[in-house]
């Protein structure tokens, strides 16, 4: 018998609502420390909403509410007093790259600065470290003071990842990060993720079933706000899935 590791993220009976429309119908699952956890499922199945509920940006949308609990490190996110601290613990990468209309340097230095860091030497080193982690440093090291918005799409997505890493998160959420970038860059970022797994927990929302298969240890199939199946990749991508729908979706014959 081996000890069950304490979950990094524990979701219990989560229901979310946009107005009267229920998005998640009471889902429960957990995410382990330092694993890559993939969430697959068609559009409108509640993948992005789930991420937004975890870092509590969900509540910025008018008319939303949620019931059930989400625990991050055993702490209920609804009861977190320092919500900015919670969000710093969670790095978030949106589907489309968002280069803030600031310089490349300021894009990455924004997070530490907004938590009160002003020391130039620390920021310099930190910006370099994050850009290196995101595999962008070599391309931009000579033009850190040019605008982040002037970068190409793939570079901006890596800048977005660098920014998500800049507040030293323990959980990195990637929401379909590869839809706006080319396959070569995608592969480079996937390599980066494999490295980052040693340091943090990664939640990978993806439309690319094969990406989930390549990277994740476990995959969750979410459909219309319900968990259809959640298991290790060996099971999810085999003929032995419990649910026929999982097999169909994974094999691309979902009707």
């Amino acid at each position: 018998m081996h000890a069950i590791p304490k979950a990094k993220v524990q979701v219990d009976n989560l229901r979310t609502f946009y107005g009267a429309k229920e998005v998640h119908h009471g889902i429960s699952f957990h995410i382990e420390r330092n694993e890559i956890f993939a969430i697959i499922g068609p559009a409108q199945s509640g993948k992005t909403t789930l991420l937004r509920a975890i870092n509590r940006t969900f509540e910025f949308t008018a008319g939303t509410r949620m019931t059930g609990t989400i625990n991050v490190d055993g702490e209920d996110v609804k009861k977190v007093r320092d919500v900015y601290g919670l969000r710093r613990k969670i790095g978030m990468v949106a589907p489309l790259p968002v280069g803030l209309p600031l310089t490349i340097y300021d894009n990455v230095a924004f997070a530490p600065r907004s938590s009160g860091v002003t020391e130039k030497s620390f920021l310099d080193a930190h910006v370099e470290k994050c850009l290196r982690q995101a595999a962008l440093w070599d391309e931009v090291k000579d033009r850190l003071d040019s605008l982040g918005t002037k970068l190409s799409g793939g570079q901006q997505q890596r800048l977005t990842i660098a920014r998500a890493l800049s507040h030293e998160p323990e959980i990195l959420c990637l929401d379909e990060f590869s839809i706006a970038i080319d396959p070569v860059t995608t592969m480079r970022i996937e390599d980066v993720l494999k490295e980052l797994k040693k340091e943090m927990t990664i939640i990978l929302v993806t439309n690319l079933v094969q990406q989930a298969r390549r990277l994740a240890a476990r995959t969750m199939f979410l459909w219309n706000g319900d968990i259809i199946e959640l298991d290790t990749n060996e099971v999810m991508f085999s003929e032995g899935t419990k649910d026929q729908r999982t097999r169909d979706y994974v094999n691309g014959i979902f009707g």
């Binding site: 940006t57 900015y84 710093r88 790095g91 924004f110 918005t149 800049s166």
Partner: protein, 294 residues
């Protein structure tokens, strides 16, 4: 292979027709402006001079210049915008960036929309009651400026909200995601990228403030006042003042035997002042646009 079918020819003809019609309408916009300015300047020509700008009216408005009216208008515009711009912009930031959809914001929105639709003469009566009489300011530059400020504030709120809303939500979300507060987000990303739009909205109110007669008629503007010529600080805030819009109105309707060119000259100065401010604003905006970052 390209084949010129009747349909392609028709499509082509319609495209040319559409372009010509739209272009002609755009050109038509220029004609009134050129005619108005040309006509005004032509009629005003005999009176226009530096002396006309810098000397007080004399001889029952029939001689002299318009200095006290010009300076009065500048006072009213500057003071009223100093009041309405900060309040309007900050209120708009609250409404657009902080407020949630609830009964409070609905009431504020309703107030803004209705206030923007109130005729200026009603603002004048409100200013008379609230500032001149109730607050005991008397008829003064202060009371008139406050009345004008109340009139322009809702429009500034609306235009500022428009400018703020043009900054993509994804920028804000990116900032929130890294643990920035709303104020940090506003300061770093939202305001720098909407400031040119905000300024445009504010500057547009200059012409409105300078041109309105009704709100200042009961609250601070007078028929005639003599002030030190060439002194920019000739008015005090509690003084009554002359104003170009009001002056134009009185000269055309109340003064007999005024020179024919006088109303036109006043109009040219009023128009020139507004165009000057707008031109400055456009230059400033082009400068800010060139620094726009996405």
């Amino acid at each position: 292979m390209f084949v010129e079918t009747p349909f392609v020819r028709k499509k082509h003809r319609r495209e040319i027709l559409a372009k010509c019609v739209f272009g002609a309408m755009a050109l038509a916009m220029v004609i009134p402006l050129v005619l108005i300015i040309g006509y005004l300047v032509f009629k005003a020509a005999p009176l226009l001079s530096w002396d006309f700008l810098t000397s007080n009216p004399t001889n029952g408005m029939r001689k002299g210049g318009i200095w006290s009216a010009l300076l009065g208008t500048i006072y009213l515009v500057v003071i009223s915008l100093c009041i309405s711009a900060p309040i309007g912009v900050l209120a708009a930031v609250y409404l657009n960036e902080y407020a949630r959809e609830n009964w409070f914001t609905r009431i504020v929105n309703l107030a803004v929309v209705n206030l923007a639709g109130v005729p200026s003469i009603v603002h004048a009566l409100f200013g008379l009651g609230a500032f001149v009489l109730f607050a005991g300011m008397g008829r003064s530059i202060l009371a008139a400026s406050l009345t004008l400020a109340i009139m322009t504030m809702p429009v500034i709120i609306a235009s500022t909200r428009e400018a703020l809303a043009s900054v993509p939500v994804s920028f804000r979300e990116a900032c929130w995601n890294v643990g920035a507060s709303r104020w940090q987000t506003i300061k770093a990303v939202v305001l720098p990228n909407s400031i040119s739009g905000i300024l445009t909205g504010v500057i547009l109110q200059v012409s409105r403030t300078a041109g309105e007669t009704a709100p200042i008629m009961f609250t601070g503007a007078v028929f005639y006042r003599n002030i030190a010529e060439g002194n920019l600080f000739a008015y005090g805030i509690k003084d009554q003042c002359m104003a170009l819009s009001m002056h134009l109105y009185t000269v055309t309707t109340q003064v007999t035997n005024a020179p024919d060119a006088l109303p036109y000259a006043i109009a040219v100065v009023l128009l020139g002042t507004v165009l000057l401010v707008n031109a400055t604003a456009i230059v400033f905006r082009v400068y800010l646009r060139s620094r726009k970052k996405w």
